[in-house]
Amino acid sequence: MKKPGMSRRKFLIGSAVGGASVVASSYMNFEAWAASEKPVEDVKVTPTLCDGCGNWCAINVYTKGGRIWKAEGIPIAGINHGRVCAKGHALLHEVYNKDRVKSPLKRVGPNKFEPISWEQAYKEIGERLQTIREKYGPESFFLVQYPEGNAGLTNRFINALGSQNSFSHASTCFLPRNIGWWITTGNAKPEQDIEHTRFGLFIGRNLGAGLQLRQLSDMSKAKDRGAKFVVVDPRFSEIAAFAHQWIRIRPGADLALMLALANVIITENLYQKDFVEKYTEGFDEWAEKVKEYTPEWAEQRTDVQKDVIRKLAHDLAEAAPRAFVHRGYHGAMGTQYKNSFQLVRTIGCVNGLLGTFNQRGGMFFAPKVQLGKLDPQKHPAPTVPEGPMVDGSGDPERYPLTPVGLGLTHAIPELAIQGKLKAGFVYHNNPLRTCPNPARVIEGYRKLDLLVSFDYVLSETATLSHYILPESYYLERDDVVHTHLSYQSKQVSIRQAVVKPLYDTKPMVVILNELSQHLGIGEYFNWTLEEYNQAALAPLGVTLDRLKKEGVIDLGGKWEPGEPHFSTASGKLEFVSSILKDNNMPAMPDWEEVLVHPDPKDPHSFRLVHGKQAHLTHTRSINQKYLKEISQLNDMTKVWIHPARAIALGIKDGECMTISNAVGKGRARAMVTEGIHKDCVFLPSGYGVFSRNLRTAFGYGISYNDFLPTYFEPMLGHCMSNEIIVRVEKTVT
C-alpha cells in the first residue's frame, strides 16, 4: 500500500495538524515528534457551500499548502448549524479524483472521447444547434438540471434559446409534496420548528438518511427537552432508531392512516376549533367525508392496529399546537405512490386540524430573501416563451398543476423517440441513472441530434453526450449568491473557489457566457458573475466583499409565532381546494388506492421500496472511495426482507437473491430483518452505477430504477417509484 512520493498522511502530519505550537507542551517524546517535522505549512480557511447533496450546507474549507484538507460547518448557517455529514467531508477528496473530465470532450464513438478546445466545442455546438433550430425549431431544445443555485442562469440560457423546456428531477423526487402543500397552504415547503416541538410525526420521511442537518440537530435538542417522535415507515429507518416509536405500516397505506387520524381528531372533537374556524376553508365538508375513514377501516389497509392509530391521534392532539406532521420529502409523499398527492393534502389538513401553523413548535413559513436583479436596460432578460412544456406540464388539458420549469424529466426519452425533442443540455443531473427503466431512457437519449453535458465526471448521461463541457468542481468555482440557508431568519450565502481549477475546466457562469456568444444569444449574457452577484445583493445592503469574507450573512427578519397567513386563493388553509375543483380534480383529500399490489398468494411477490443511506446521495457519491468504503465495510447494499417471507423462500441472511420483473433483473444479498413490513423488500438507493468511467462505483450494487416501469401519475405525471412489483427468489448457482 506504500505510495510513491509523499503520501497524504505524511503530508498532513508533516504540516503538524493544527500547528506545532499547540502540541509542544506534551511530555515524553511528543515534543520531539512535533519538533522533528517540517515547518507548519499555510493553513487557509475559505467559507463556501458544500455540493454533497441538494442542501448546500455552509462550510469552512481548510487547505494546507494549497491542498484541500478538511471542512467544518459554519455555526450560524440555518441549514446545518455548523454540522457536516459524511458526504460533505468525503466529497472534498473528489477534486483529486482521477475520473474527472480534464478538458472539453467530444464523443467520437461509443465510450470514445477526444479532448477538444473550448472554442471548437462552442463552435460545433453552435453549428449543430443552428441546424436543429432551422429544421425543428427551438421548441425541440431542452435542459435537464438539478434546479438550485445556478438555475437562474441555466433557465435564462434555455429561455434565451427560445425554449421553455426546462426539466428538473422533480418528477422522480418531490413533485406531489410541493404541489400538495402549495394547494393546501399556498407554500410549497413549509418548515417545522422542531427544536421547540412536543410531538413530531414522520410519515415515511427519514431524516436520518435523507439528511437535513439542522433538522437533526433540532431533533436532538428537542429530545433532550422531552419531545416525542414517532416514525411511520414500512421499514425501520435510521430516524426510527432515533425516534421513540416506530409504526410498521403497509407500504402505500400511509394515506389510510392519515385519514383515520383526521377521523379520530374530528369525531372526538380534539381539533383546534379556534384555528379551524378562523383560518381554514371547507372544514364541514371534509369532516363529513372523513367520517367513513375510521381506525377500524384503516387497520385493514395499513396493518396498524386501531388502538395504535387512536393513541397516535390522541398524542398529536394533546401536544397540539406544539406538534407537527412532518412536511416530508421523497418518502411516501414524494413521487412514490399513486396516492402520494392525496397523502400530502391530508397531512397538510391534519396539521390544519391541529392548528400548528405559525406556532412555536409547529409548522411555519420561513422568511424569504428577495434578491436584486440585473439592470434590464443594460442587461436585457430574454422573454420566457409562453405556453406549456412539451411534456404537457402547465397544459390545462394534461398536467395543469405541474409547473413549467419543473416538468416531467422521465418523459424526455419518449419525447425524443417521438422526435419532439432534438437537442438537450444536462446540468447537475444524470437522467440515465435516475429515471425509470434505463434501457428505454438510453434508447431515447440516443435519438437526440445533440446532447451536451456540463459535468465534472463521465456519468452515464455524460458518457452518452456528444459534447462534455466540464464545469469546475465546486471547490474550484465561484457561483451566484444563494438564499437557501434561510430558516428562522433571512440569510444570504455564496459559494466561492477554495483552490484554483486543477484542469481545463470553467465555472458554469463562464461557460454560459462564452457558449451564448456562439449561439447568437450573447446579448443576454453580457455581464460577469461579479456584476450579477452585486446586482443580487444591492437591495440587501451587503457588499460582495463582505459576503465572500464571511460566507454566510444573517440579515435578521426573524420568524415569530403569531397569526398564520396562507397565500392560497381563499387566504386560508384549504380542506376544499378551489384550484383542484376548477381543474376537475378531487377537491378534498380522499382515499385513493395504490396502483399495484403484490400477489398475496404468491410467496415470491413483493413490492420493491427504496430509500437513501446517510452517506450517499443520488448516483455520484458512490464513486467516492471514502463513501464506498462505508458501504463495503458495513455491507450496505443488501436488500431487506422480512424473516417470515425469507424462510418461505429458503433465503438466509447474507444469501444471494434474484430480483426480477418485466423491466429488469438483478441480484443482491439478503438482509433478513424484523425491521421491514412483510409485503415489501427494501433496496437502498445510490448504487447501480453503470458508467464504466466512474471506476470506483462501476458495477457495485443495483438500483430500483432497473425495475421501475415508466408511469405517469394521472394528475401530476410523476413517476410513482414505489409502484414496483418484483419476483424475489433464491439465486441458484
Binding site: L12, V22, S26, R83, E238, I239, W246, L627
Partner: protein, 180 residues
C-alpha cells in the same frame, strides 16, 4: 489538569458515519483506515423491535493494555489522559493490536505504524473539540473533562448512569455509553 473523556448517547445515533469521515480528514487517513466504526445491532420483534447504532473508537483506557505491551514505549498517555502513539518510535510490531480488548488499533499502512483515535488532541489543546464531536448531526457525543464535576460530560454521566464498554476488564475506559 483536565482528564479528557467522551460520553456517547447511542439512542441518538443514526449511523450516518459523519464522524468517521470527519476523523479521517482531520487525521489525514487513507479511505480504508479509520479510527472509528459504527456497529449496529437489532433486537426484539415488532412492535418492540429496535436497532441500536453503536459508535466505537479507542476508549483511552486509564489502564491501557496496549500501552503496557508496547516494547518501544511509543504508546503513551498524555498528561490529559489521552492515549497517544509516537510515530517516530512505533515500529509497527502490532503487539498493541493483540492486547487491545476492544480491537480499536489500526495499522497505518502509509507510515507503517499502528495508530488509533487521538481525541484530536491538537484541536482540543487549541480550545476546540474532536472532529467527530463537532460534526455529529444529532449530537451523540459529548467531550470534556471528567475531573470537572460541572463539565457537561460529568453531569451527563452522573444523570444517565452511562457506563464504559466491558468495565469488567479492568481497563477503566474513558468513553461512557448511554444505551437506553
Amino acid at each position: 489538569m483536565p482528564r479528557y473523556g467522551m460520553a456517547i448517547d447511542t439512542t441518538k445515533c443514526i449511523g450516518c458515519h459523519s464522524c468517521r469521515v470527519a476523523c479521517q480528514n482531520q487525521n489525514g487517513l487513507d479511505y480504508k483506515e479509520t479510527f472509528n466504526w459504527i456497529k449496529n445491532r437489532e433486537r426484539g420483534v415488532y412492535p418492540s423491535f429496535d436497532k441500536e447504532y453503536i459508535p466505537l473508537q479507542c476508549n483511552h483506557c486509564e489502564n491501557a493494555p496496549c500501552q503496557r505491551v508496547c516494547p518501544t514505549g511509543a504508546t503513551f498517555t498524555s498528561k490529559e489522559g489521552v492515549v497517544l502513539v509516537n510515530p517516530n518510535t512505533c515500529v509497527g510490531c502490532k503487539y498493541c493490536m493483540e492486547a487491545c480488548p476492544y480491537k480499536m488499533r489500526v495499522v497505518d499502512h502509509q507510515l507503517g505504524i499502528v495508530e488509533k483515535c487521538r481525541f484530536c488532541i491538537e484541536l482540543v489543546r487549541a480550545g476546540g473539540t474532536p472532529a467527530c464531536v463537532s460534526t455529529c448531526p444529532t449530537q451523540v457525543r459529548i467531550f470534556g473533562d471528567l475531573n470537572d464535576p460541572n463539565s457537561e460530560i460529568s453531569k451527563f454521566i452522573a444523570q444517565t448512569g452511562a457506563l464504559p464498554l466491558r468495565p469488567d476488564l479492568g481497563t477503566s475506559p474513558k468513553i461512557f455509553y448511554k444505551r437506553s
